[in-house]
Amino acid sequence: MATASTTSTFDVLRIREDFPILNRKVNGQPLVYFDNAATSQTPQQVIDVIVDYYSNYNANIHRGVHALSQEATDAYEQARIKLQKHFNIPQAYQTLFTSGTTHGINIVASGFSEILKAGDEIIVSALEHHSNIVPWQMLCEKTGAVLKVIPMTDSGELDMNAFDALLSAQTKLVFVNHVSNALGTVNPIEEIIAKTHQVGGAVLVDGAQASPHIKADVQALDVDFYVVSGHKMCGPTGVGMLYGKEAWLEKLPPYQGGGEMIDQVTFEKTTYAGLPHKFEAGTPNICGGIAFGAAIDYMNAIGFDAIAAYEHELLVYATQQLLEIEDLRIYGESKDKTAVISFNVGSIHPYDIGTILDKLGVAVRTGHHCAQPIMDFYKIPGTVRASFSFYNTKEEIDVFVAAVKKAVSMLG
């Protein structure tokens, strides 16, 4: 199709060869995978690392004198350094492995439960994922701190004037996602961080949705905590990272008791191990951590600038095609957004569109995307969300748009 010709020099067809799953069929149709904001697919290079780990050097780390344990420990610690360099983290020990973004958030929330007192304030944004809201509600219940919410505007952006008004000397922690999972809005985290620091508060940024598209530099951002998940970045599920400024990581108490996080144990007193082990109790997801490192290498070999430019091209193309459909409304119209399109067509329920799209081989997400407050704001039950990755093509967007049209003709 002439309209679908790729104008950039990005060699997407070559890249697609790295992803075996893209060859499969769903309901007899070639798979079009547009649910990348939920989880990204895994390239062969990362799958090979997982197979190699279990085939050749599977062992517990940090405690064995034997060769396998040493090899596994080395590989795991090298992966930590890959993450450190990628996010420009000052020291490897500030690069903590977690089970994912939610775990990272809970480590910080749990740590702050020892710091906050009644009357302190936590600010979260209205664009949050559920997992971002619940730990803070629990924290407020426990400490008597007060939860404040930065409202959103109709275009799906944070109301920054309202944010200014919420900030005060009582603000102890601000919590915001770098990119909204439901709408794709890129939030002005630089401004939020600078203003929060002016009143003496700390900022935790959820980078889960940003990390597949934007290379965050935690030192340039001056962010206090930054959390990500491996499975959004072409890595496996069950592994993630928490970055924290050193002073904060020293100040926060350990999250869990167990192996690795202790220095000395007697029945009278246990002293905690230093960073990062203080927050890494028990046997970690060793293979996951190593594969996460390999995934970061894979994405960097393609290059985040090239990825962002190509994905933007896909976003613009898909937006134009979709808006030709009558009564289609896109939610989240920020000028600065990642390759996510959340939409509804007339009064058709998103679940119905998603069901027909699945029959046609197109995988999208439907529902409230764990961001019910956003859906309540727009007074809708949910949206259909298509999210693109650098391995998607304009031809796939054509298949997707035709499938949406077919669904609308059946359901309308």
């Binding site: 329920h349 679940y351 027909i356 029959k359 529902g367 059946m410 359901l411």
Partner: protein, 142 residues
């Protein structure tokens, strides 16, 4: 009046007329549109079954030994399946409802809609239908 088994056999035969999934879905969507709507006074939180994806409302009345179900959903495909389930289970005595199963849904190629992972409220709706049957059975015996 036909038994649940006879009705389910009828539905299976109707769906056998279709060549592909698209025709089956178009028929189901039509059924959804023709579903007698639940009385608005029952479309409240008391009668709601919250799926993660779509909402379902179910209400039951007991008339002359039979349970009459009315239901609705905010999603039309869910509503189509509801129409099929209501046709099968409504205006039947409690014991017949308790004895019946939903395997006919597999036979008409719509099994995936009754999967709990679908989170559309239908699995809970069937449970609710059975619970109404248990309740009215107990009431009839007392």
């Amino acid at each position: 009046m036909s038994s649940i088994q006879e009705i389910q056999q009828e539905i299976i035969e109707e769906f056998e007329m279709f060549d592909d999934w698209m025709q089956r879905y178009e028929y189901m969507i039509e059924l959804g549109k023709s579903l007698p709507l639940i009385d608005d006074k029952y479309k409240t939180d008391e009668y709601i079954i919250k799926g993660c994806q779509s909402k379902v409302w179910v209400h039951a009345d007991f008339n002359e030994g039979n349970i009459e179900f009315t239901a609705d959903s905010d999603a039309i495909i869910t509503k189509g399946i509801i129409a099929i389930l209501i046709r099968s289970f409504s205006n039947q005595p409690p014991q017949a409802i308790l004895d019946a199963d939903t395997s006919f849904i597999d036979k008409i190629g719509l099994k995936e809609h009754l999967s709990p992972t679908r989170a559309n409220g239908l699995v809970s709706m069937i449970k609710q239908i059975k619970l109404y049957a248990v309740a009215y059975q107990a009431k009839a015996e007392s």
